[in-house]
């Protein structure tokens, strides 16, 4: 006979697993699913990564590691999209652009983050075509010929060894590194896809090996010019 406590623990873990599976499921706008919108050309905006080191005295930023990881994720997402037949426009933030372009990038990123709060709260809404950044996104000059914007967000905590000693399960979950990829229509501003990956390992180590399969898996069901290879 299973005890109440064990039942509650199993139920809790089951719910946690179901929630995680739901979040990792690719959420795609019907327009993209039905190929009413085709993503041939895209522009990736600079990835925003927040990595903090957590020790016994609290947290502190890992600025350099975040910057490196930001460049790595940008490159890996670019590589995967290129492999799937998407033509990529140059990174609008490189080389350092004039103020007007810098402001326009910042405004796009801020708009995406504002809408992103709602998308994350209700991923089903995306599949009903509910979310948009507004058609003013079409005024972004460097993306004039693009079909879509790609936004990359990631965050995680780098836990000190002491935390691992206190509880491997909590430390694993708490130390998870989450990456979100958002695809937005470059003309209408509609959020076309929201994809999530979770890495349960240190993201700063072996990132070139650890991330590509996760990114490939996240983008697998997104309709792109070249379909993803099926295993």
């Amino acid at each position: 006979m299973i005890s109440r406590r064990s039942f509650a623990a199993v139920l809790g873990l089951g719910l946690l697993g179901a929630q995680l599976a739901y979040e990792l499921w690719p959420h795609i706008h019907p327009k993209l699913k039905d190929r009413k919108v085709v993503l041939r050309t895209a522009i990736i905006l600079p990835a925003r990564i927040e990595l903090v080191k957590v020790g016994v005295h609290g947290s502190e930023s890992m600025h350099e590691a975040s910057e490196t990881l930001s460049a790595t994720l940008y490159r890996l997402v670019s590589a995967e999209l290129t492999a799937r037949g998407v033509q990529l426009l140059p990174n609008p933030a490189e080389p350092a652009p004039p103020d007007a372009v810098k402001y326009a990038i910042a405004d796009l990123q801020a708009k995406y983050d504002n809408v992103g709060v709602q998308v994350r709260r209700n991923l089903d809404g995306l599949e009903k075509g509910k979310y948009t950044l507004g058609d003013r996104v079409a005024t972004f000059e460097p993306a004039r010929t693009a079909d879509a914007f790609v936004f990359i967000r990631a965050h995680g905590r780098n836990l000190s060894k002491v935390f691992w000693a206190t509880g491997p399960l909590f430390a694993t979950v708490g130390g998870a590194f989450q990456t979100d990829i958002g695809v937005v229509d470059a003309h209408s501003g509609e959020v076309l896809a929201f994809l999530r990956t979770v890495l349960f390992k240190d993201p700063t180590a072996k990132s070139e090996e650890r991330f590509p399969p996760l990114i490939r898996e996240a983008l697998r069901d997104v309709p792109l010019p070249i379909p993803a290879p099926r295993n």
């Binding site: 990038i105 935390f163 909590f170």
Partner: protein, 433 residues
């Protein structure tokens, strides 16, 4: 004896973790402080590279001149004073421990004159000069260590869950940075207010304007999250009261709009209004643009004023009495996070009150767009605004005519693509070809 020992231990421990406000004048930098200093420099670089720092030579010069007039005397180790405008629509300002002071565009747009900005900068400069960032960081690190120790103690007896909860509470966020942006403890904030007032007086500026700025900060224009249990930051009303006490007055200082200030800050105000519209702070946009639009002879101001009123939709320009209560503010904030703009507009426009507000706001918007078009007949943007307004109102033929006028006036503009798409969509929906 045992009780005494325990009391002594507790007293010593509390003294150890207490923030050391008003510390010794010679501040000795520890390794931890130097790390925070480096983090501050990283934040400076980050804000700049991300396009969050607004650059306008005249505005920067004015802000720096105001800031320099209220700085504490003498050089400070590891402090290089710099004043920046942050492209952020919220009404806020903050200082990093390295002497970088950021004033949000939202605050500059809300202020009425230079002396109010001087008060804000003096307050922030006090945080830097009195090393509040470092002191707060040290205090938080000690408290976090305590919390983590508690989590390990609770780990064994309660199966780890409570311990883990405490542990995660302790490690949530980059506390030191959050602290310097969103406020220090009550004591340190009070110290910065009072010292800031003295610095403003010393600069022969009007100290009452710091209290007036606080009154402006206390005006709630948008639904905001309200802390449920404990707020470390002194309430703005309390701050106004003790500032008035220092000034020897019992009345709130009256409005003191300075036309010279508003004209000089025009680029920041326009920037703030656009950012506020973008992040759905429509009431703030309307309040801020009214001052700018009051300046005669500026079509860009009038167009943006029209946009602010149009975006307000079925909302009232000011929150109602119920919406201003803590319950109302929380509910409004939750709704704004939950509903998209379209959903919120539909929901509000379903009521008689919402419909009435919508009509009124649309009439205001149309009036501003028309004034802009009359003032500068070559300006295309007023027609973009009119087109969007008529489209919102379901006046398809008028919307198409306004959009076509826009395309005539701005054949190669950045908005061309989206306006053409709107024309195609409206025509397909049954409008005149």
């Amino acid at each position: 004896m045992a009780v005494r020992m325990r009391l002594l231990a507790i007293t010593l421990f509390l003294a150890w973790i207490a923030p050391t406000a008003g510390a010794a004048p010679a501040f000795v930098f520890t390794k931890v402080d130097l790390k925070l200093l480096e983090e501050s420099k990283d934040i400076d670089r980050d804000l700049e590279s991300r396009g969050l720092v607004f650059h306008d030579a005249a505005v920067d010069q004015r802000l720096t001149a105001i800031g320099r007039s209220v700085l504490p005397e003498g050089a400070l180790e590891n402090v290089e004073w710099q004043f920046h405008v942050l492209r952020d629509p919220m009404v806020n300002a903050f200082a990093l421990p390295n002497g970088s002071i950021y004033v949000n565009a939202g605050l500059l747009a809300r202020a009425e004159n230079d002396d109010q900005i001087a008060g804000v900068l003096a307050h922030e400069a006090t945080h830097v000069a009195n090393r509040h960032g470092y002191l707060g960081n040290r205090s938080i690190r000690r408290k976090t260590l305590l919390l983590n120790a508690a989590s390990w103690v609770t780990w064994l007896p309660v199966g780890g869950v409570a311990g883990q909860v405490i542990s995660w509470t302790a490690s949530a966020g980059q506390i030191a940075v959050v602290l310097s942006v969103y406020g220090y403890s009550r004591e340190l904030e009070r110290e910065a207010d009072v010292s800031g007032l003295a610095l403003v007086k010393r600069a022969k500026r009007n100290p009452a304007q710091l209290a007036r700025m606080m009154v402006l900060l206390d005006e709630k224009l948008e639904p905001e999250p309200v802390p449920i249990l404990y707020n470390d930051h002194p309430r703005t009303r309390q701050r106004i009261d003790y500032l008035k006490q220092q000034l020897g007055t019992s009345d709130d200082p009256p409005a003191a709009e300075d036309r010279g200030y508003i004209l000089a800050m025009r680029p920041v105000i326009l920037q703030a209004v656009q950012l506020q519209i973008d992040c759905r702070r429509f009431r703030s946009a309307v309040a801020n643009v009214e001052l700018a639009a009051a300046q005669p002879g500026d079509a860009a101001n009038l167009y943006l004023a029209g946009e602010a009123w149009r975006s307000l939709g079925p909302r009232r320009p000011r929150l109602s009495e119920h919406e201003l209560t803590n319950v109302g503010l929380r509910a409004g904030y939750r709704a704004s996070r939950k509903l998209t703009d379209d959903e919120e507009v539909r929901q509000l426009a379903a009521s008689d009150e919402g419909r009435a507000a919508l009509q009124e706001n649309q009439a205001n918007a149309e009036s501003f767009f028309r004034r802009a078009a009359t003032l500068d007949p070559a300006a295309a943007n007023p027609y973009l605004g009119l087109g969007a307004l008529y489209q919102d109102e379901g006046r398809t033929a008028d919307a198409l005519s306004a959009y076509r006028k826009f395309l005539d006036l701005s054949p190669g503009g950045a908005d061309r693509d989206r306006v053409e798409r709107r024309v195609v969509a409206l025509s397909a929906a049954g409008g005149p070809k």
